[in-house]
Amino acid sequence: MSFVDTLDLPDEVGHHLMHMGFVPDARVVVIRRAPAGDPTVYAVDGFEIALRRETAQSIKVRPVEEGS
């Protein structure tokens, strides 16, 4: 589990992802990987969204700190 930090993507794409729930401070959980290993399914904001590795890499996250 981790929190979204910044989106290192072109404005339009970043915007779209933010509207799909990938906003800064949103909690992201990896649910599972596709049988072929990629894309990966993430749970964000109660939704399940699959992203390819190349896109996911541009979303910087920070881990959930102990006790928080």
């Binding site: 509207h19 906003v23 399914v41 969204i49 390819r52």
Partner: protein, 631 residues
């Protein structure tokens, strides 16, 4: 095409709008919010489907007869996450809501559908819709599910926060829809003030600000998100399992094809026989003469050649509908993505391309689920390379006539099966190569990434499935029907002018002779030339034309036709002909649908030219190769 509903046409009001009076209502909502289900509930079968001018976004318009307000028109806007013009869909939505869409009246009120299971995120769209200051009713859909799963929300506070009425509904059960009628009745009276600007809305265009606004509202309305469906996670654990997932995927695919071919094919055949005998019966009433010939041999047979595919096409639409409505389509895209991206497409292209093995028409119409326009167009352009069932008659005829049935691996796999399989492979490889070519040139991927939302599994309802099949079937008949009709009439005239001439002496016969020098290198003679010309309407027509030319009825004298072909063509020419059919775009229905889906003649023209050129070169290579190998 006549059907039960074409009598009721939808009129777009032309008289000037009086303030406060409602004529047109827009239905807005994010994808997967149940918006289409609600639209179907509210309008029933009385809906009109078309493309918005200049774009490839589909417009559904209907009368609000579901709640007894047939005087009002409901416009279904594309499913969008926000009004920021990230996508063509969002631009269309903005234009319609501002009354800037040509041919679409400006909406006087908005019905905003939000999925109450995920209100947090869905509220972000509410911000941009409310900033338009149109009378808006917020519909919390799937509220029955929300409540049974322990979710809650204070609708009164929500209405105060949003400055708009809020109603809990269930589109799939049809509950709570009275609120819509109430809202529209109230708003129809003059002097009802529109939302004033007192509302506190987030900074337009700033997703983070939208998000904070939405979170604030969720907190103040004491929104408690329901527990997510255990079902979906459990099913995904199995259906997306590393080993079972792909197996079950394969099982689904095989089942679909088994049903389409084992039920669809006989249905199509039976339907075809029915149409032909009906044509003959009508023919005897009309007597003999050129009118009878034009109506029966031209119009009726031409239209029948398209209609015979209807059972298969509808069956495919049904399956695609079940896959989509149940939520499995997204999972299939997830499983197939890795393979599809290697050819430059994404996972969502898989099911459409697979459907193209039966018929390219439903396949091309199913590409609407691919959001990225370039990916979608690439998929549309390669789909007709897949070996559709209309190619089978000519493949079977030529293989039976020219390929000896020598066993290769035991009795199960012989020469004939090998040739057939090679033809399937050939189409597949052509699609692959073309996809790569397109994606590295004119349809190079933009920066848009592949984002796939996995909706919760739902049981598809009979109501929405039948509406979908009916709606898609109607589009197919309208689009393909009109063009096929004109093409078959033109082809009939060309093959009957001058009057009382036989086929070889007619205009089309002369063109056949005339193009012979062009097609001779492929090993084709003028008869094949006429066959190729006549099959521009539909691929399977060539078998009938060759039957006429060789003076044999293909249905009863198939062996006679085979013998005549063997006598007239070399092995090289025969194989060149099937290779030609593997690549060539001999299908007017597909061209008509491609034009509709891409909203321009440019793409079908390009597709036709490219596929014909490829077919010519490949057939030439085949003829040369076989001639030199066997001599």
């Amino acid at each position: 095409m006549s059907n039960c509903c074409s009598t009721e046409t939808l009129e777009i009001p032309i008289e000037p709008r009086t303030p406060g009076k409602i004529r047109t209502v827009a239905l807005v909502g994010p994808p997967n919010s149940g918006k289409s289900t609600l639209f179907n509930r509210l309008t029933g079968l009385r809906q009109k489907v078309a493309n918005y001018p200049g774009v490839t976004v589909e417009q559904h318009v209907g009368k609000l007869s579901g709640i007894g307000r047939s005087d009002l028109m409901l416009i279904d806007l594309p499913g969008i996450y926000s009004l920021d013009s990230y996508s063509e869909d969002a631009r269309v939505a903005v234009d319609v809501l501002h009354g800037r869409m040509p041919g679409t009246p400006e909406p006087d009120a908005v019905l905003l559908v939000l999925d109450s299971l995920h209100l947090n995120r869905q509220l972000m769209l509410a911000a941009s819709i409310l900033s338009l200051h149109l009378p808006t009713l917020i519909l919390l859909n799937m509220s029955d599910l929300m409540e049974t799963r322990g979710g809650e929300v204070d609708t009164l506070v929500l209405a105060q926060e949003l400055g708009a009425p809020v109603a809990k509904i269930s589109a799939s059960r049809g509950t709570g829809l009275d609120a819509i009628a109430h809202f529209l009745d109230r708003k129809s009276e003059p002097d009802v003030p529109r939302n004033t600007g007192r509302l506190e809305l987030p900074v337009v265009g700033n997703a983070r600000s939208y998000r904070q606004w939405a979170t604030g509202i969720s907190t103040r309305t004491k929104y408690k998100a329901p527990l997510s469906s255990e079902w979906t996670r459990k099913l995904d654990r199995l259906l997306l399992h590393r080993i079972f997932g792909p197996f079950l995927f394969l099982a689904v695919v095989i089942t679909v094809f088994q049903v389409v071919f084992s039920i669809g094919q006989p249905l199509s055949d039976g339907f075809g026989d029915l149409l032909n005998s009906a044509g003959d019966k009508i023919g005897t009433f009309l007597g003999h003469g050129w009118i009878e010939s034009l109506l029966i041999d031209g119009v009726w047979k031409g239209v029948a050649s398209v209609l015979v595919f209807l059972p298969q096409i509808l069956l495919l639409f049904l399956f695609i509908g079940i896959l989509e409505d149940s939520g499995y389509l997204a999972r299939a895209a997830l499983i197939a993505d890795r393979v599809m991206r290697s050819i430059g497409l994404n996972g969502k292209a898989f099911i459409p391309l697979l459907s193209a093995y039966a018929c390219a028409v439903p396949a091309i119409m199913a590409t609407r689920t691919i959001e990225n326009k370039r990916d979608r167009f690439a998929t549309i352009l390669v789909a007709p390379f897949m070996t559709c069932s209309a190619r089978l008659p000519i493949y079977l005829l030529m293989i039976a006539a020219f390929v000896p049935n020598k066993p290769i691996i035991g009795d199960f796999f012989g020469m004939r099966a090998a040739v057939m399989l090679s033809l399937y492979l050939l189409g597949f490889l052509a699609a692959l190569a073309t996809a790569r070519l397109l994606k590295s040139s004119i349809l190079k991927t933009s920066s848009a990434p592949f984002i796939l939302e996995l909706p919760q599994y739902r049981l598809p309802t009979l109501r929405s499935l039948s509406l979908r099949v009916f709606d898609r079937g109607k589009v197919f008949l309208k689009q393909a029907g009109t063009i096929i009709l004109s093409v078959t009439v033109v082809l009939w005239i060309l093959s009957h002018v001058p009057f009382h001439s036989s086929l070889p002496e007619s205009v089309i016969g002369r063109i056949g002779h005339w193009i012979e020098p062009v097609i001779r290198p492929l090993g084709f003679n003028w008869k094949i030339g006429i066959g190729l010309l006549s099959s521009i309407a539909a691929r399977e027509v060539i078998v009938g034309t060759l039957g006429t030319l060789y003076g044999a009825d293909p249905a009863t004298h198939s062996l006679g036709l085979q013998a005549a072909l063997r006598h007239d063509l070399t092995l090289g020419g025969a194989m060149a002909l099937v290779v030609f059919f593997a690549f060539a775009m001999q299908c007017t229905s597909t061209l008509a649908i491609v034009r509709r889906e891409t909203n321009s003649w440019k793409w079908p023209a390009l597709q036709f030219a490219y596929m014909s050129a490829l077919a010519y070169v490949a057939a030439l290579a085949t003829n040369l190769l076989i001639t030199h190998l066997f001599l």
